[in-house]
């Protein structure tokens, strides 16, 4: 059956980035479960979807993609008229687009490496029967605090990261933020008033609630 397929795991941060986008756009799709614990992502069958052996992979008709942020950046303009607008209000304004793109790079290069490590230490390691390394947690939290200080200043000026409307830039953060809110790292978000408000806004969205089910 043609249409949209996501090959991934419902608990995976990167898979959730794509699922969020699909829910925001009210798009029908099939989630094909990839058993990470069993190493299914390293099998020949999955590698034909993503040679890097990472979830998620994606199909829309005969278009095959991987890398969650490439997938979301395909969905948002492709289905521009539908559901939530995830681009800037004037999608043709290149300066506005660049500001959104810059925020997406910040998420990918400044925020996510730290947030993912912390989610790994606090949450995913335990699923695999490993123990949290508190020294790593302390080190990564110190770096994340500095990043969130920049976010605090930004969110004092603007309601969302790329301006006054919710965009892909904010969306890309949601899965990692949701995990960290369930851990001691939560304090880094709650002790910064504007970050705290932004976190509350983006996590209460119906799509954000759907991916937790």
């Amino acid at each position: 059956m043609a249409g949209i397929k996501v090959f991934g795991h419902a608990a995976s941060i990167s898979t959730r980035r794509v699922l969020l986008t699909l829910h925001e756009k009210n798009l029908d799709f099939e989630l094909v479960h990839v058993d990470l614990k069993d190493g299914e992502h390293k099998t020949e069958s999955f590698l034909s979807h993503n040679p890097f052996g990472k979830v998620p992979a994606f199909e829309d008709g005969d278009l095959k993609l991987f890398e969650s942020r490439a997938i979301t950046q395909y969905i948002a303009p492709r289905y521009e008229g539908q559901g939530t607008n995830l681009l800037q209000p004037d999608s043709k304004n290149l300066a506005q687009y660049a500001i959104m793109a810059m925020g997406m790079q910040v998420e990918a290069h400044q925020f996510d490496p730290l947030a993912s490590k912390l989610a790994w230490e606090h949450v995913f390691k335990l699923i695999y029967g490993l123990t949290t390394d508190q020294a790593v947690v302390a080190e990564e939290e110190a770096k994340l605090a500095k990043v969130l200080d920049v976010y605090e200043a930004r969110l004092k000026e603007f309601k969302y990261l790329a301006g006054d409307t919710f965009t892909l830039t904010d969306l890309h953060h949601i899965p990692a933020v949701q995990y960290l809110l369930e851990t001691p790292t939560k304090k880094l978000f709650t002790e910064r008033p504007h970050v705290n408000k932004w976190v509350a806004e983006i996590t209460k969205r119906p799509a954000s609630q759907k991916i937790l089910q």
């Binding site: 890097f52 993609l65 490439a70 950046q73 660049a98 793109a101 810059m102 997406m104 990918a108 290069h109």
Partner: protein
Amino acid sequence: MASIKVHGVPMSTATMRVLAALYEKELEFELIPVDMRAGAHKQEPFLSLNPFGQIPALQDGDLTLFESRAITEYIGDEYSEKGEKLMCPGCNKVKALTKVWLNVEGQQFDPIASKIAFERIFKGMFGMTTDPAAVQELEGKLVRVLDIYEARLSKSEFLACDCFTLADLHHLPVIHYLMGTDSKALFESRPKVCEWVKKITARPAWAKVVDLQKQ
């Protein structure tokens, strides 16, 4: 006076990424040096350009941007009619494939390759010593990525499609550094990767970026 200003240094891989895009587009710009040794990038006035305290930052009229890969994307879009094409023309599908390989460079290649460059080259400049065990571990990861590149480049002239795009350009600075070290063997031993490296590093715009380092 150029309306485009780049705040950075020619030695920095991220700055080089932006310079490459500007030269490909044949755009006038002013390169404003940032005194890294003095920590200028971690203080005002630079922090007003990039609050994360990293070079480069770009000003184009009253637009200020940071994050090299957002800057190059802006340059490619805003000046799409000038100089070389940096995105494949086409529909959502072609653009989507380009985004895939842009993300591959940023998420799969660069985290490993730039650490190798740091170990082999930049550590020495800062009076630190290369950690051979770290290099070995990193190279073990890089070869897996390059094997995937080899397979990809057997099916496609360049990474995203059959034209040179930002997805290829973004690799240039780190590859340039690694090709000056023993790590070059990893690229040279894979025929399609080797050919691709030769093609992209031979581009005239890239030669101009490298020249800036010699000044």
